[in-house]
Amino acid sequence: MKLPSSIKNLFYLDFFRFHKRKTNTNPEIIKIKESKFKDEYQKLVEDCDKVFVLLMFIQWAFCIFIAYAITPMTYIGTTEKLHFHVYMAIYFGGALTLAPFMLYLYNPGGTLNRYVNVICQGLFSAMIIHLTGGRIDTHFHVFGSLAFFAFYRDVKVLLVGTAVVAIDHLVRGVWFPLSVFGIAHPSQWRWLEHAAWVVFEDFFLVYACLRSMQEMKITAESYAEVEFQKSIEEEKVKDRTAELDKEKKSMELILNSVDQGLVAVDFEGNFVGNISEACKKILQTDISGKNIKDVLLDTKTDWEELLGMIKEEAIPLDSLFSLLPSELNLNQKYITIEYGPIYEGDNLTSLLLVFSDITERKLFEDQKNQEIVKNQALVKILSAKSDFMECFDLVESLKVTHIKEVSVKRILHTLKGALAYLDLKDLSQLCHDCESEFIEQGFSEELLNQCISKIETGLNSFIEENNKILKIDKNRKVIEIKLEELNETIKDIGQVSSNYDLVAKLDNLMMTNLEDEFNWLNEAYLKTGEKLMKELNPIQFVSDSKIISYVYNDLFKSLLHLVKNVVDHGIETPDIREMIGKEANGNLKITMSEDEKFYNLEFKDDGNGIDLEKIKSKLTEKNLPIPEGKNDLINMIFKDEFSTADKVTDLSGRGVGLAAIKEELEKFDGSIICDSVEGEGSTFKLKFKKFSYAQKVLEEKSSEKMAS
């Protein structure tokens, strides 16, 4: 027959379940568990010892009280003295209290303590029973004490306590039954009856002790598991912290290695986080914990309001950053500040400031600017040589004897204007100062001489300073320019291309007529004709434009190939020319025109034109495809290593000359095409982009840099 589960469960105590449960076998966890259990049990027994010591004191006082209340005095006739029971309560109670107390002081929680406590408690029970004359009611003290013994959760303690009670009852039951049972002749097994009730109570208390201990072990195991997990996590955190420290140090090294100072500020303007060494060096102070307002000493910026707006991201941050100071002069240092947001996830947490020390650059730029100003003036002078020379004339005119005040003022004013026009601001200011002095001090010859002297000295100093470029003859009538030195000056100026006015002036200064520039080409043309026994008229130049030969130097040199080709292949010999009804002398006309961006240069001869059949046969010879159109066929002559000449001479025939011209033209985004009419001549049309003198100089400068 099967019992219902509810009845079966009656006999199935949790205690037995505890014993059956699986425990963790991890040695680390077992170690922590045992240590924790030991600690907790030690705390428990220490607390129990404390409770027992207090209990002993209370029981001691109670025993004295009941001894005095029940049997205060004993008499010998009329003589009275304290009853023996009172002395007994004091002595015994004291002894029973002293032992637990001393042991607690000496070794709280010691193993011996709990056994002594149990014995003492048992003896207290015996004494109370005795003092009350063996009242059966006072036996409840024994049962109450047993419950106290269970506080130790130690079965052995309970057993010792039970043994004490049983032995007490046995011994006193034999020799002094009245004191324990209240009757003089109890049954010889009466002690056993009392002991049996104690054992009955023990049954429950033992169960409670064992269960409590099991629960403590379970709690300790849970604690151990948590601690073990925690230790693993802590180890991870420790490793991660070490990694972060390493990263932090690495980051600090990086921060300290850059010249720029990086630092963050919160939205109250306080510097936060790591501050790089460069930062301290640039700002020349330790800014840790300081406010940006106090460090930058910038009173113009409303930092509080702007930082508040940045925090709210009220308007685009770039716009807000533009309102913050980007450059400042602090302790004679020029510092630039760049700003950036620092986000943590989506949240803007602080503001990044990047400080850069630009003092050296700034000083260099200032020096450079001064030079630029000076050089600009110089270039201006070169473009207006006569204006500059007139300045000397004006100074000379001031030296006329008995000159009138009005004339002086007029000349001085003219001179001031001329110098200002030439960007000689210092000298112009000098004239202005002289004018002021005349007004303030009144006109005098002495003052005039002083002014003349100052202005002359200023002009001479300027010429002296720039004597590498400017050369002025003794009479101060002719001014010469040293071109190479001028180029160096332009290279130094650098930014000259941004000054259009100056570029235009410089270009005008450098421009020459094509005819003047191509004199050498004309000579080469004529000499080639002589050599080939061909009679030629000088080249006819038709041009309204001017050109800067310096810019196109290499291109112009390459044109020699074209001219030689014209003479060698184009112009016929005089006899042939006459035979076909042409003038004996061959003609070459060079025409130059320009538009906004390009120059057009045309070489037109009256020779026999290009032999198309010869081109075709050469292409066939070289296994090259023959273009269909006439122009395409003609333009094959510009191909590298293509020549229609039958043999190579010192003048032409290698097929490199025209290709070289094409290559030079490409440098100026240019091109060359040829138009030819057989028997009438050829026309070479060149087109190339306009370059300013300054552009060319700067291009050379950048090429030099690239090469270096």
């Binding site: 029940i70 049997t71 205060p72 005095m73 004993t74 008499y75 010998i76 006739g77 009329t78 003589t79 009275e80 009853h83 023996f84 007994m88 002595y91 015994f92 002894a95 029973l96 002293l98 032992a99 001393m102 042991l103 000496y106 070794n107 010691g110 011996l112 002594v116 003896l123 005795h130 004359g133 063996g134 020799w175 002094f176 009245l178 004191s179 049972f181 209240g182 009757i183 003089a184 002749h185």
Partner: protein
């Protein structure tokens, strides 16, 4: 071989030994005190002739001498009253004599014991101011009881408790009840437990 001694355990052991000796000696003293009987009367045969106490002829006469302030005698009085309640006839005259020196009369006259005897009603209460009767009966210890036959023969001499102040079965009470109920004439001496009724000087005299 070097033996390691745990000082802590040794010290504790020594302490416990000394302490145990103290406890055991205390127990012995207690045992001796509690079971130590008082000085028993030397009255041997019959009612003292010189006694001024009135012997009730034809009845058993039960007399107990008490010290009014003896707490141990509370148990003796309890058993005295128990004897009276256990007797199945009225052939008994009972007296309790309290020692009541004049100098202590005011203090002792209303003691708990005196009051209890008064409240019992059926017991003849006598105060002995001169302690003469105590001397005549040689009742040195409080709780000293005597039982005389109707012919003045001493049947019982001793106490009616088995130890100091403890209520419970005792030979004295058992003997008296049996003797009275059976109207026997056997005699018995038992120990008596209680305070000294008389000053040592008086006793010596």
């Amino acid at each position: 071989m070097q033996i390691k001694v745990n000082k802590s355990v040794t010290t504790q052991f020594i302490f416990i030994c000394i302490w145990s000796i103290g406890i055991i000696s205390g127990l012995v003293i207690t045992y001796e005190y509690s079971l130590g009987s008082g000085e028993k009367s030397q009255l041997k045969s019959s009612w003292p002739n010189e006694s001024s106490l009135k012997f009730n002829p034809g009845k058993y006469n039960l007399v107990m001498f008490l010290h009014p302030e003896c707490t141990c005698s509370k148990a003796s009085l309890f058993h005295f009253k128990e004897i009276l309640s256990e007797i199945k006839h009225d052939n008994l005259d009972s007296k309790i004599i309290f020692t009541m020196p004049k100098e202590k009369e005011k203090e002792w006259i209303n003691s708990a014991l005196v009051k209890e005897v008064k409240e019992a009603g059926s017991i003849q209460l006598i105060f002995d101011q001169s302690s003469e009767e105590f001397k005549r009966f040689d009742a040195k210890t409080s709780g000293q009881a005597f039982l005389f036959s109707p012919s003045k023969d001493l049947l019982f001499n001793g106490g009616i408790t088995d130890s100091r102040g403890h209520i419970g079965y005792n030979q004295g009470e058992d003997f008296i009840i049996n003797t009275l109920n059976k109207r026997g004439l056997a005699s018995k001496d038992v120990d008596v437990f209680g305070c000294d009724n008389l000053n040592k000087t008086i006793v010596n005299k």
